[in-house]
């Protein structure tokens, strides 16, 4: 039950700056995902919260208390490692009892806690098994249980699903989210997999190159990416972006997309924001799921270069200078070389300033 505040947090390794001034508040009981490609600083941030690394600057506050100088064993932080770091030379029971034992709790207190947590996590049947040969989902539960037994205020999870094969990941995700709901602890979850972040997190903090790009609920981040990086990173496939210039047409402000033609007129609020923003060079963005594909007619003109049939849907690649992907019906009747036109749903259109990469937001 703790609020974590990061204030102007900086981390440098020699000449390399892993994290450039990060400010973030993680609310009490929240499931926050730190999402970004590898090398974006998310693990560094997590390690500093845990106390495994010292910040080069800035502060970390737990409920307003400065954690600088507090050793990692005394921060009240539970940590689930990427490989779970289970003590494989011990039984499940010894693993669970490790924390309480090291903290000098009484025999009866340790037994009581082990029993409770084992019941809760359904580990009771394997309490006396060696932990070396357990299956991965049991290891995950054991890793969580081993941290949870000392009742940490904060749970940190470092890509716990990255060693799990894809088929099993969905099961583990559900289980993990379920556990978080029951524990009610503040959880910080580091991942590079946007699907994990989207499905489990209350809020997502998207990071890149040591800079926090956007914080928001999964839907906010998906619907209204703050900049081009987030737009491209979130979603599979990511948002389509076409370079263009603002242009007045007789039906209102639109974007001239070069060889693609001129876009449909922008919605009023977006048009107002775009003209207020001043710069004329923009990136015109829309989600692959939110555009319709037609043969000739109104819309952005293009030609099909590749058709990816993935079962439930079909991803059509079209090109006119730049490649754009469209998610269409599974039985869409187009093939390579067809001339097509694309109509993005007006409400789904997003504009980004080409120079600053920041989103231009209407309304």
């Amino acid at each position: 039950m703790t609020t974590i505040r990061l204030e102007n947090l900086v981390k440098r390794f020699g000449d390399f700056t892993a994290l450039k001034t990060m400010d973030l508040e993680i609310r009490d009981g929240e499931f926050m995902a730190l999402l970004g490609p590898s090398g974006c600083g998310k693990s560094t941030t997590m390690n500093m919260i845990a106390g495994m690394e010292d910040p080069s600057g800035g502060r970390i506050l737990f409920d307003g208390r400065d954690m600088n100088g507090v050793p990692m064993g005394k921060r009240g932080v539970g940590f689930v490692f990427q490989n779970y770091a289970i003590f494989t030379h011990m039984t499940v029971r010894q693993n669970l009892a490790y924390g309480p034992k090291m903290r000098g709790m009484s025999r009866s207190e340790i037994d009581r806690r082990v029993k409770n947590i084992a019941d809760f996590l359904q580990l009771t049947p394997m309490l006396d098994q060696k932990s070396a040969k357990l299956s991965v989902n049991i290891l995950q539960r054991l890793a969580i249980g081993r941290s949870a037994i000392v009742e940490p205020a904060i749970f940190l999870l470092d890509e716990p699903l990255s060693n799990v094969d894809a088929a099993f990941r969905a099961v583990m995700r559900t289980e993990l989210k379920h556990l978080q709901k029951q524990f009610k602890q503040t959880m910080v979850y580091v991942t590079h997999d946007q699907l994990e972040a989207m499905t489990m997190a209350d809020r997502i903090a998207v990071m890149d190159h040591g800079v926090l790009q956007q914080v928001g609920t999964p839907l906010e981040v998906y619907n209204n990416p703050a900049n081009i990086f987030v737009a491209r990173f979130i979603g599979a496939p990511g948002m389509n972006l076409i370079a263009g210039e603002l242009a007045e047409t007789d039906r209102g402000l639109a974007v001239d997309l070069g060889s693609w033609g001129v876009s449909p007129p922008l919605p009023d609020d977006l048009a107002a924001a775009a003209s207020a923003a001043g710069s004329r060079a923009v990136q015109y963005g829309f989600r692959p799921e939110e555009a319709t594909l037609g043969l000739e007619g109104q819309g952005l003109r293009s030609r099909v270069t590749f058709v990816e049939r993935i079962g439930a849907r079909t991803i059509v690649h079209v090109e006119s200078g730049q490649t754009v992907k469209i998610v269409a019906e599974n039985d869409v009747g187009c093939s390579i070389g067809d001339d097509v036109s694309i109509v993005p749903a007006p409400a789904a259109v997003r504009l980004f300033d080409a120079a600053s990469t920041a989103a231009i937001r209407g309304g």
Partner: protein, 319 residues
């Protein structure tokens, strides 16, 4: 939580039968390696049988007959029963045990302490590392000669003691029965602590860092981490290191022989030195064969024990 139903482990429970194709390829494998196996059997098996045969006779190279005619002096198990009453043998065995009981624990504790120090970084670590490993690379006979000179009554060792105490110390290390044994032990510890250090350090470095961090996060202090994570994790390696040194000390010879020649008297006579003397001076090879066979069996038991530990660790312990 239905997750437990899709455990990866479930598939492993399938019955283990060898399919016919597999059996065929096994047979082929056996046939292909047969010549080598016979050669190995000859190299290992023939001398052993020869030794067993000679150990049941009074044969000596001075008899003037080939060893295959040793049956002429057949004495059944007399060599073995003699061994039970041979006081010089028991004395040698006892001294070997004393050296082992002092040197192996001393080397182990020193090495473990050093290896633990070397887990952390400190200035000059690489230099110290090289210096520490140097004794191991000295030829044992040369080490023997070094210590022979060091322990002379007017030698450097006494010189250091004199300088430290301010008195003129002239201890005759190698001619006092007790001190000679101590000198031999010091030489062994000097030379073989590095090997133990190297093995234990390799083990400690292999302890997963995440486990140590996990233990720290759970509130374990340095001492607790050492005893609950690091030591249990290198248990197998400790057993191997100890087994190697125990076996080596059973065979201790070259350094010791050059330092003291087993003397004064029989004060530093170990089983290897004893066997060497019986072989080269008394020339009763039937008896030597019997002693050597007894030692071989004892060491084999040790080796099997060590291998069992390794096997157990491979199947269970570590992931």
């Amino acid at each position: 939580m239905s997750a437990t139903e899709i455990l990866p482990g479930a598939a492993e429970a399938a019955p283990r039968t060898i399919p016919p194709v597999d059996r065929e390829s096994r047979r082929l494998g056996f046939r292909l390696t047969l010549p080598t196996q016979l050669l190995v059997l000859f190299i290992a098996g023939f001398p052993l049988l020869m030794q067993l045969y000679i150990s049941l006779t009074d044969w000596s190279p001075l008899d003037g007959v080939g060893w295959w005619k040793a049956w002429q002096s057949w004495n059944s198990f007399a060599n073995y029963t003699d061994l039970l009453e041979d006081r010089r043998w028991w004395g040698a065995l006892w001294r070997t045990f004393i050296i082992m009981l002092v040197c192996v624990p001393a080397e182990f504790l020193l090495a473990l302490g050093l290896a633990t120090l070397f887990m952390d970084d400190f200035p000059g670590k690489r230099v110290f590392y090289s210096i520490l490993l140097m004794p191991m690379m000295v030829v044992p006979a040369v080490a023997g000669y070094m210590f022979f000179m060091l322990f002379q009554s007017g030698g450097p060792f006494n010189g250091i003691l004199s300088a430290l105490s301010g008195m003129d110390i002239k201890i005759a290390w190698l001619s006092d029965p007790t001190l000679a044994l101590v000198a031999v032990m010091i030489a062994d510890i000097w030379q073989w602590t590095p090997l133990m250090f190297l093995i234990l350090l390799a083990g400690l470095v292999g302890v997963p860092e995440d486990q140590l961090k996990a233990a720290t996060l759970l509130g374990a202090n340095w001492r607790q981490r050492f005893f609950t994570i690091m030591l249990p994790r290198i248990k197998t390696i400790m057993v191997i290191a100890l087994a190697i040194r125990v076996i080596e000390i059973f065979k201790i010879f070259d350094t010791l022989y050059i330092m003291t020649g087993g003397g004064p008297g029989v004060a530093t006579e170990t089983i290897s030195v004893y066997i060497y003397k019986v072989t080269t001076q008394d020339l009763i090879w039937g008896y030597v064969a019997a002693i050597a066979l007894v030692i071989l069996i004892a060491l084999s038991v040790l080796a099997v024990f060590a291998m069992k530990r390794m096997e157990a660790a491979k199947n269970g312990g570590r992931a």
